[in-house]
């Protein structure tokens, strides 16, 4: 009796999750995978094969855009980690108990505004006739207006700003669990600040670092608005290619292929990152 009740509660608890994963994630992915294997040979005529994938590897533009997207995403992740870690450490360890919630909230506030509005905020600040440029000119620091928009640096700034929160949150929650006694012990045993940081804090925070890096990397590689709005004539982004294939070129087959490739490629980068740093999901993100 007790057993079947347990089982029932397990089924009931598991069903929403299974439905969510199955209907909203697995099924659409299978659909995308199916469409990506369809080759268009004429009006409403299709055959099956890997032609779309071959087309991707033959065309250097698509390859390079994917590599570029991955490279910038890694850079953004690294920057978000470097900038987010001190913030997270301050909130979790240095700030007083009472101000902690307030500080955390301040990090959250930008998220209450939509991506689009935040991107337009950057545009207003950085454009040639924007706030920063005109202020610098009126202060006499520069002689003529300067364009700070439409380049890769702007895209990186915008992306770091958008994703840094997803780095801070997991870091704060891991660091909060760290016993201060560990740090004191480290110093008592003669460790310098650097040693304590390297040997105690970083290993302890590793689950948070890995989780944060995976989330920010995936979010960045899959982002659309920020790179489109802030990017310039030379900055193509892979999600933009997917949009173009689906919408402007009516080529769902190629768009699906790109989608599958983006998923595989980003998963590969994450796997590689874990291998290179000697981590695994089991010992970091899923650590009890």
């Amino acid at each position: 009796m007790g057993r079947s009740a347990d089982r029932l509660s397990l089924v009931l608890l598991f069903t929403p999750f299974a439905l969510w994963i199955g209907l909203l994630i697995v099924l659409p992915q299978l659909g995308i995978g199916y469409v990506s294997l369809r080759e268009k040979v004429g009006v409403n005529e299709f055959t099956f094969g890997f032609g779309n994938y071959a087309a991707f590897f033959e065309e250097p533009i698509y390859r390079n855009t994917l590599l570029r997207t991955a490279w910038i995403s890694i850079l953004v992740t690294a920057l978000a980690l470097i900038m987010g870690f001190p913030v997270a450490y301050y909130i979790a360890k240095i700030a007083k108990e009472r101000s902690r919630a307030g500080l955390f909230l301040m990090c959250l506030i930008p998220l209450w505004v939509s991506d689009l509005v935040r991107a337009y905020g950057w545009i207003l600040l950085l454009r040639e006739t924007g706030v920063i440029s005109t202020t610098l000119v009126s202060l006499g620091i520069i002689s003529g207006p300067v364009e700070m928009l439409y380049n890769d640096v702007t895209v990186i700034i915008g992306l770091v700003y958008t994703v840094i929160l997803f780095m801070i949150v997991p870091l704060v929650s891991t660091l909060q669990g760290m016993d201060d006694a560990l740090l004191e012990a480290g110093y008592n045993l003669g460790g310098s600040r650097l040693t304590v940081f390297r040997r105690i804090i970083v290993p302890y925070a590793m689950p948070g670092i890995v989780a944060g890096c995976i989330i920010t990397f995936m979010l960045t590689a899959g982002s659309y608005l920020t790179p489109i709005l802030l990017g310039g004539k030379n900055s193509s982004w892979f999600t933009e290619q997917i949009y173009t294939q689906f919408i402007t070129r009516y080529n769902w087959e190629m768009g699906s292929t790109f989608g599958v490739l983006l998923l595989i490629f980003t998963s590969l980068v994450v796997w590689l990152g874990l291998r290179l740093t000697g981590q695994s999901l089991a010992t970091t993100v899923a650590k009890e």
Binding site: R127, E128, T129, Y150, K233, N234, S236, R249, Y250
Partner: protein
Amino acid sequence: MNKKMNAFVSGVVALGFSAHGAQAETLRLLTWGGYAPDSVIELFEEKYPDIDVEVTFSNNEEMVAKLRATGGSGYDLAQPSVSRIKAAQAEYGIYKPMDLSQVDTSVFQPNMMEAMEKYAEIDGEIYSIPHVWGTQGLVVDISKAPEVEGWTDLCDPQYKGRVSMRLKRALLLGFAFDTGKDPFAAYDDFEAYEAMIDEIGETLIDCKDNVKTYWTGGDDLSALLLSGEIVVSDAWDSTAFKLYKENPDIRFIPTRTGALAWIDTFTLPKRGEADDAAYKWINFVNQPEIVTMISESSGAVSAVKGGVELMPEGAREAVAAAFDEEALDNLKFMPSVPPGLEDLEGRVLDRVKAATSE
């Protein structure tokens, strides 16, 4: 407390009734920004109180993609350009034919209806009714770039860093005409067409240094021009006409080879559910005073007779400043895009976007 609660509940119920009690029919409109301004919708709903109008703003490519995704349902009336009817219908079957007896076609300029018969006729049936037309050409701040006359002037090094473009097919067409070719004649010969646009792609890559940024929406372009950050770009005339009101130096240039003309239509999605309401809307917006209201908000010229005269004052002036008689005769109406052509063009445009410059 109880009384208050009762009043509240009855209020909510009354509200519910007023919204649904009249058995309201919904007209779901898939259209361009500015084509269905709130003021027009209000007047329409006043005249037909049992019809609710819902508007979704979109563009040509998205309209076709949306209807394709749903097999032609989800909307009751769409407004794609006439060049996007035949191929989309052949490939995806997303439209249904028009019942011309429901529409007063005598109000249209004859050449507009002729264009429908030419470009939106499949198996003897007409799929579209003209709504507004306009052109694509160049928009220029004549106080800063007085010598711009044609598409290839976008690559003139004296405007380096002061040029914008929209990386879409019209750019390729414009450059083709300006280099003495006729892209429309090459529509049926894919090889010749590909060779031609490949060459234009090279030109565009070479002059990428000239470009400040590629614009993607009308608001983008307006901000760039009004702030003076750019002085010349390719553009829709409607955007240029709206800017003329803000700064009369910003003019639309139909170009020496003639502006590329488009007609946006009314077309019924295959599984639209409110055809009657759709026909009512079409006849409603062709009334002179409504025509003026829509021209005011869209900047485009109505397809009805005397469409230019019905434009609001400022815009009429801008049209007069842009088009003389010769320029009007020289309009290049964009024919139906054959299936597969956009794939070729897309490859060239991707190459231009991905090329690196300073």
